[in-house]
């Protein structure tokens, strides 16, 4: 094989015209949903209903409906929380970090990934709430002056978590909405439906595609990306503090923050990759979300997967090197104790299978990457399960050891969380442009001036939306 590295591969294949982009991206919004859509929706809604029933039971009878017990106070609830928050990380990573790194290939997938972030964080947000048992009292988590005369404890990682997750959600939402404004304006100007027109007008705020506005807009996008980058790293760091700040063997380690962040990006990318595979196929976005883009995502997966694998190994090393018998026991127990099956599922899905992506063929073949992506998510769910349950079920005092077994309600809520996430995603696909129209246009071939007539062109003055000005 020979590659010509002097030429950049076009981000968008097939050299479509600017107007074609509008048509392609707006098509799912202009056409009525077909049978396939309804079938998909009914599946996800069924899952959602299962979750709703399980939650109803939980509220009515209390969290005794779950398999949680002493000492397993955290089990499926927190596992699911960490899992979904992790899924959310890919979106901001793609939209902010890759933006700052001037990875133009992100333009085709950023909107979708941001949407997934928002839905994943929403799904995740349910779990801490139901975990407290009385979700209607959740407002107590925020510091507001109240009739009890007391305040929250700012030294608790759980409170940091409240701030991190709510900030993350808000900032992701803003980021997403700011990106949507120009696209909504474009849709507003091309739609024929009356109600649609009113809605698009309201939400596009009367955007006029003015270059006096774009000028500030790009600056704000840059600033937001600058903020979102440390933010996305902080969120899973703080989630890991929930564990690391406690004194439980297996939790009390300094490796947790980077290990959690890598894991989050890992599972998030796998999820985005999985869903994109379907979206690009169903809506004919193959030339916008290209196989090259998917391949790049798989490269990120192999990178973060290896980081996660390294962390697993390092945990064992630290346990051994620390000479702390409780710590050593926990890790031996993980690998060979009663939850060994979960541990080995995790290791094989997270460390072994993603390594197949070293083969270019596998990286670029849809069915293979789909399967590996699914395995990664299974593995990452089990990672959180292993961390939480193996540590809790067997801590310092053998007399208080106890196994955790999930109940039907537990499984129902897990199913429901997938139902919620995919329902939101399906609705998103049918109501909003899942690919950023303006960002994709700006990286089309021939969309930017050729700069021939203008020698004094200063690149810095428009460090921009799609960045990396191409001086080809």
């Amino acid at each position: 094989m020979s590659f010509d590295y002097s030429k950049e591969i076009p981000i968008i294949e097939g050299g479509p015209k600017l107007a074609d982009i509008d048509d392609v991206i707006a098509r799912p919004l202009d056409t009525r949903p077909d049978r396939k859509f309804y079938i998909a929706l009914s599946i996800t809604l069924t899952m959602l209903a299962i979750g709703a029933v399980s939650l109803g039971l939980t509220f009515y009878y209390g969290i005794g409906m779950w398999g949680n017990n002493q000492p397993n106070g955290w089990a499926f609830d927190i596992t699911n929380f960490v899992f979904w928050i992790g899924i959310g990380h890919a979106g901001t990573l793609i939209s902010a970090i890759l933006f700052l790194l001037r990875q133009k290939w992100r333009n085709g997938i950023s909107r979708f990934a941001e949407g997934m972030t928002i839905f994943a964080v929403m799904t995740a947000g349910i779990f801490p709430l139901i975990h407290v048992g009385r979700p209607w009292l959740a407002a107590y988590l925020f510091p507001y002056p109240n009739e009890h005369g007391i305040w929250i404890n700012f030294i608790s990682p759980l409170i940091w978590d409240v701030f991190a997750v709510s900030t993350y959600f808000t900032v992701s939402l803003i980021f997403w909405y700011v990106g949507l404004i120009p696209d909504l304006a474009t849709l507003r100007d091309r739609t024929a439906g009356k109600i649609k027109k009113i809605l698009y007008s309201i939400f596009s705020l009367g955007w006029r595609h003015s270059n006096r506005h774009w000028h500030h807009y790009e600056m704000v996008y840059l600033v937001l990306a600058g903020f979102a980058t440390p933010l996305v790293l902080s969120v899973h760091t703080i989630v890991s503090f929930d564990f690391a700040v406690s004194v439980l063997p297996g939790w009390h380690t300094t490796i947790f923050p980077p290990y959690f962040v890598a894991g989050a990006v890992f599972s998030g990318f796998a999820m985005v990759q999985n869903v994109l595979i379907f979206v690009r196929k169903i809506f004919n976005f193959e030339h916008i979300i290209t196989i090259n883009t998917l391949e790049r995502m798989n490269k990120v997966i192999i990178l973060t997967g290896s980081m996660v694998g390294y962390a697993y190994a390092m945990e064992f090393f630290t346990a051994w090197y620390s000479g702390n018998p409780a710590e050593q026991f926990v890790f031996i127990n993980r690998a060979f104790g009663p939850y060994a099956w979960a541990y080995w599922t995790m290791v094989s899905c997270n460390v072994i299978f993603p390594q197949l992506f070293w083969f270019r063929k596998i990286r670029r073949t849809i069915p293979y990457m789909l399967i590996i992506g699914i395995l990664v998510n299974v593995g990452m769910w089990f990672e959180r399960f292993v961390i939480i349950v193996t540590s809790l079920s067997r801590d310092y005092l053998p007399s208080s050891w106890r196994m955790f077994y999930p109940t039907l309600t537990d499984l129902g809520i897990l199913t429901g969380s997938f139902g919620l996430f995919f329902t939101l995603l399906l609705l998103f696909i049918k109501t909003l442009p899942v690919v950023s129209i303006s960002e994709v246009k700006s990286v089309l071939e021939g969309a930017q001036p050729s700069h021939l007539h203008n020698g004094s062109e200063e690149v810095i003055s428009h460090s921009s939306n799609d960045s990396g000005v191409n001086h080809a």
């Binding site: 015209k17 600017l18 107007a19 509008d22 509220f59 009515y60 209390g62 009385r134 510091p143 005369g149 305040w151 404890n153 700012f154 030294i155 608790s156 409170i159 940091w160 701030f163 900030t167 808000t170 900032v171 803003i174 700011v178 474009t186 507003r188 091309r190 007008s201 309201i202 705020l205 009367g206 955007w207 006029r208 595609h209 003015s210 270059n211 006096r212 506005h213 774009w214 500030h216 807009y217 600056m219 704000v220 600033v223 937001l224 903020f227 979102a228 902080s234 303006s438 246009k441 700006s442 021939g446 001036p449 700069h451 007539h453 203008n454 004094s456 062109e457 003055s461 428009h462 939306n465």
Partner: protein
């Protein structure tokens, strides 16, 4: 929008369309050269080099992010300091009240939150003055074209150099097509204030009643439903409830014979004023605090009958047997124990105050009464 010229229409701008990004950059440069100030370039995505071509300086929005970010940092730290070391100090994990490392995560989050929200708010609502759906460019063919794949320039009539014919020529020379004048939309510049329209007021009322009704309903009913039991139902006996545990069926039990409640020592000299007078000594000193407590209790409990100055000038005069003055020879010669006994047990028509007034307060009242007696019956020597 029809292209015919109706005299009363007010011109907003003249627009032209280009097909290629190079052309629009050129158009912007030429417009700058020609000295136009109030013009705009509309493209459906940011075109590189446009800011330079239009000679727009760097965006000031980053300063807004900086200012609000720093305010977020300061506010968060100040707030946590106030809560944790001032208003509700608590030792947690042996850490100092103000433990900076533990406050960093929240400080960071608040910084990011405030900066992001405010930058976007400032951009949309202050810099861009959005939402603005009544702008004359909206709903024009021009907007339709630039929204999709064309590149448009719009030179405004409010520009000092504006001249309709010249601007059209200028655009023509640049190679623009679809050169069109854009007018203010009649219906949109003559919008009347509709706040006082009955329809709007009716709408407000409807919203008011709906909100009030919903709030009432949720606070009074929904919150008392099913799972929200607010710990109302507990496995314990509430006052006045039956219990099958006891043969008499009462949930509440009488204390065992001879029980003494904490802080309620029984009175030793029941019906024996002589002994009280002989053996009881006032344990308090006439300090300022004691006297002011005594005054307060005296005014509350004694003055309605005996008068503010204890002269027997009751405010209840006529409705109650006249209480005596407390400046009589007899009372002045009473031992403290006598008065204590009278407050505790009452005397004839005067009821007992043992239930309302604590023992300490009784002694304080006595001291205050002594002060009153002395002031009302002052001797010559007291003045010296």
């Amino acid at each position: 929008m029809p292209d015919k010229i109706i005299p009363e229409k007010i011109l907003y701008s003249v627009t032209g369309i280009f097909d290629h990004p190079d052309e629009i950059i050129n158009a912007a440069e030429q417009a700058e050269k020609a000295g136009y100030k109030k013009y705009d370039i509309n493209t459906s995505y940011p075109v590189h080099g446009m800011s330079t071509a239009m000679r727009i300086g760097p965006s000031k929005l980053s300063y807004i992010a900086l200012v609000f970010g720093l305010s977020g940092t300061t506010l968060a730290l100040l707030f946590m300091w106030y809560v944790s070391s001032w208003d509700y100090p608590m030792v947690i994990g042996g850490k100092p009240y103000f433990s900076l490392p533990a406050f960093i995560p929240i400080t960071f989050e608040v910084t990011v939150l405030l900066a992001s929200i405010m930058t976007v708010v400032a951009m949309l609502f202050i810099f861009f003055k959005l939402p603005n759906n009544s702008h004359p460019l909206h709903d024009t063919d021009y907007m339709k074209m630039v929204s999709s794949d064309r590149f448009g320039i719009s030179i405004q009539a409010s520009d000092p150099l504006f001249d309709e014919v010249k601007v059209k020529d200028f655009l023509q020379n640049l190679g623009a097509h679809h050169i069109t004048p854009i007018y203010f939309d009649e219906s949109e510049i003559s919008v009347k204030n509709t706040v006082f329209e009955p329809k709007f007021i009716g709408f407000l009322l409807a919203v008011f009643f709906a909100t009030a009704g919903f709030t009432y309903f949720s606070l009074n009913y929904i919150l008392a439903w099913g799972p929200f039991n607010w710990m109302w139902n507990q496995h314990k006996l509430n006052p006045q409830k039956r219990s099958e545990l006891f043969s008499d069926g009462f949930g509440m039990r009488m204390p065992v014979e001879g029980t003494v409640a904490r802080g309620y020592m029984p009175y030793l000299y029941k019906g024996n004023q002589a002994a009280a007078s002989k053996y009881m000594i006032n344990p308090l000193l006439p300090t300022k605090e004691v006297l002011s407590m005594g005054q307060q209790k005296f005014v509350t409990f004694c003055s309605p009958c005996h008068g503010y100055l204890a002269k027997g000038d009751s405010r209840l005069r006529g409705q109650f047997p006249n209480p005596p003055s407390l400046h009589s020879e007899k009372v002045r010669n009473y031992q403290d124990g006598d008065i204590y006994h009278i407050i505790t047990e009452g005397q004839n028509t005067m009821p007992s105050y043992a239930k309302q007034i604590t023992r300490e307060e009784r002694w304080a009242i006595i001291l205050y009464l002594r002060a009153l007696q002395r002031s009302q019956n002052a001797k010559e020597t007291d003045i010296k």
